[in-house]
Symmetry: C2
Subunit: 458 residues, 2 copies
């Protein structure tokens, strides 16, 4: 029987970070990562493999070298059972390995709609984090002339745009009234839809697929309204489900959506077993309610917490809840959201004020590569605390969204943003006198002031 | 005699923002801006006029339209005297205008080294915020073949790089051992110097100019070591001095460097007179000491404070000190600094820990337009509070620097950054597992931990 101190199952973002940071701060402990994938893909890069990047070979995280350098053991195998009583795992190869601490970073799998007739036909593809599967899918999709993508979340949107670059006719179908509507308010999703349409992706929202038809292999889809759409390839991007089968088998509680239940230090109910990333439950930072967020960036934040708390709990190093920070890009246009959207604020009955501003992200605006920059802030009306934002602009949007993410995590008051000092430069940011983030704050302060005056009049 | 409620002297960043925000929250008050410049330039865009932008005509803030839309009166004239007792100003045109509140946003002027022989010859140029002067200078510099730029602060560096784009031989001379050394530590200034050299700008540091020689017009410079360098044009970018003559004449106290003394609400010693921007004193956020920072972004932050406090002081809307946030770019490479540099920390005897990481700003790193991203965090050792940073990378550097600026303003603890949640996207940011900002935080936490262990052993 082999032995290790910290055993990590999974080598994607979450597993990698638990191992790397854990080993760095516990250099005397032995760290072992077990992965069933021969190659570990950059998860968020996957849609870009189909267009911009061109091949999964350029989208690989070199974990062998990285782990070897850090003194972390890497084993290609699969854990098929956890024996919590004896603190051992059974591997597919038949080997047994003992652990002191265990971290589950088992990720997620694409959702398979078994209720959808034809979902299992040939030429129907999913987007798992699996190089072998994706290489085969890419080859076959490459030969298709007409592709239907079902489900307009991030993967569906990014895949559609990338595949369209290969001169294919691409149809993106979404049953909800807006694309990306679980992440963005219509302010942003409408802009993204317009960009997709302008680039030639045929987007249809509010349409429900009734079945996939075809003999042997898929030949198209039938919509609820009776429309038949033909295609050579169909991609199902209808979300992901936590891969928690191993945890369930080991008797670790999962929630009603299958996420492994964890505490604020990322511990499961077994204090020697941690869970991070797509397989672990996330609680929303304001409501405390469970949310089905799956992001590599969230996985990494959780993994850092787990690593810091592996040996001895550190009270300050706990999570106050998940602040979902999403970003995406279509060509040179970026989109981002952090914290609550208006839809979410309404759902929980929070009274809020929005501040909106649109300007240019360079100054003067005639500079090459200038893009319009739109910022919407969402501020809790009773406290003045910033709780959410949406940003649209050029490719600096990802970092602008992170700036607001940091404000939300610091529970920053809108008055502190109004007087905040920022740095600006013609080639990199908006003008200091019309910096959209600050102008949006001004809009909030103005609205709050107008409201308080109205109250005084009453 | 004309009358107004709020009179603002100066129409650049500071004056514009006092007027815009002030009028928005005090719609019943009359706001008047007096400017002596026929056109108001985007201040930070000036160096780019000489290369990328091509003409000052494309670098103008359309204040006429903006003020008209907001209901702000705009007068082209010059205030030559302030009568504080009667709350009136005398204009160059002979008119008198009464005010209720006055805001000085009189800016700064290039430093003229009157001790330097030849400084007043023809073909010697300064870079003031003056369209008429700059248009003439641009025309003449455009005809020069060899240009010497004296002083490698931001203006000197940016001007040299832009002018070099016009296929001129450009020499940039700096007396200190490093370029930009008042803003950046050598980590960054060495990188910028290397980029300038690689692009063909001839940079020399540690050289002192003894005189400018030439009959009638400048023909070159003589260095301290006897070297003679010939040139057709010489640009003096040796810093700026606050334009506080009007304030001094009115008996308002200025500090030893000529900056108008203001309180935390941007009021001068006369509570009806505010001062903002380059002419107003700035106190450093940690030491409280006066610092000669001149940035349009700082001016705007001060102007927002002044606007909010014009009528009735709001306790929450005060400044805790200036956090200098600088950024600049050379081609597609960006550089930024927020808060204290190591040099400044050393000067005040602060014990600190640095955390450093360098990665790629896209993921996978093979994506087009990927740049290396370097982050150095400076953290106070006794408290763990983040007090400074330096960032080098692509053009998202400006916004990454702002993210850290917000952390500094929120007095964020390094442990909170370690567990911070960020958003990532292949086309816009570094990878979530190797996001330089978080990795640099990890480096700090690791160093603090190693140190505390050493203490335990003792």
């Amino acid at each position: 029987m082999q032995k290790t101190d910290v055993l990590i199952i999974g080598s994607s973002a979450g597993g990698m970070v638990v191992a790397g940071l854990g080993k760095r701060i516990n250099p005397d402990k032995k760290f072992t990562v077990i992965t069933k994938n021969e190659k570990t893909l950059v998860p968020c890069g996957i849609p870009y493999v189909f267009g911009t990047v061109g091949t999964t070979d350029k989208n690989i995280i070199p974990i062998e070298q990285s782990f070897a350098k850090k003194g972390i053991e890497l084993i290609y195998d699969e854990v098929i059972q956890i024996d919590r009583e004896h603190k051992e795992v059974l591997l597919k190869s038949g080997k047994i390995m003992a652990y002191e601490k265990l971290a589950l970073a088992t990720g997620s799998n694409p959702y398979e709609p078994i209720w959808l007739p034809g979902h299992d036909l040939e030429n129907v593809y999913y987007i798992p984090k699996d190089k072998v599967y994706l290489d085969e899918a890419q080859k076959k999709i490459g030969k298709a002339k007409k592709v239907i993508v079902i489900g307009a979340g991030f993967i569906g949107v990014e895949m559609s745009h990338e595949i369209h670059k290969l001169d294919k006719e691409v149809h993106l179908l979404e049953k909800l009234p807006n694309i990306l509507s679980l992440a963005f308010d219509p302010d942003l999703s409408d802009r993204i839809e317009a960009l997709l349409l302008a680039d030639g992706v045929k987007v249809q929202t509010g349409v429900t697929v009734k079945s996939i038809f075809g003999k042997d292999k898929a030949e198209g889809v039938l919509l609820d309204d009776g429309t038949r759409m033909e295609a050579d390839a169909i991609i199902l991007s209808m979300g992901y489900r936590p891969n928690s089968a191993l945890a369930v088998k080991a008797g670790l509680p999962v929630n009603d959506k299958g996420f492994i239940i964890v505490d604020e230090y990322m511990r499961t109910t077994d204090s020697n077993i941690f869970a991070v990333g797509d397989c672990a439950e996330k609680k929303q930072f304001i409501t405390g309610k469970s949310v089905p967020i799956m992001l590599a960036s969230t996985a990494c934040a959780e993994a850092r917490l787990a690593a810091l708390n592996l040996y001895g709990i550190s009270a300050v190093k706990s999570f106050s809840g998940t602040i979902s920070i999403f970003s995406s890009a279509i060509g040179s246009k970026g989109f981002g959201v952090a914290g609550l959207t208006e839809r979410e604020a309404n759902e929980i009955g929070m009274k809020y004020v929005t501040g909106i501003f649109e300007g240019m992200d360079r100054h003067p605006g005639c500079l090459p590569d200038s893009e319009k920059q739109f910022v919407k802030l969402i501020v809790a009306r009773d406290s003045g605390i910033i709780v959410g934002c949406e940003v649209a602009g050029g490719l600096s949007t990802g970092e602008v969204t992170n700036t607001i993410g940091i404000m939300i995590q610091n529970r920053m008051h809108i008055c502190n943003l109004m007087k905040a000092q920022i740095g600006t430069h013609p080639l990199m940011t908006a003008s200091p006198a019309a910096y959209p983030l600050i102008q949006a704050a001004e809009d909030v302060v103005y609205k709050l002031r107008v409201e308080s005056r109205k109250k005084e009049v009453k």
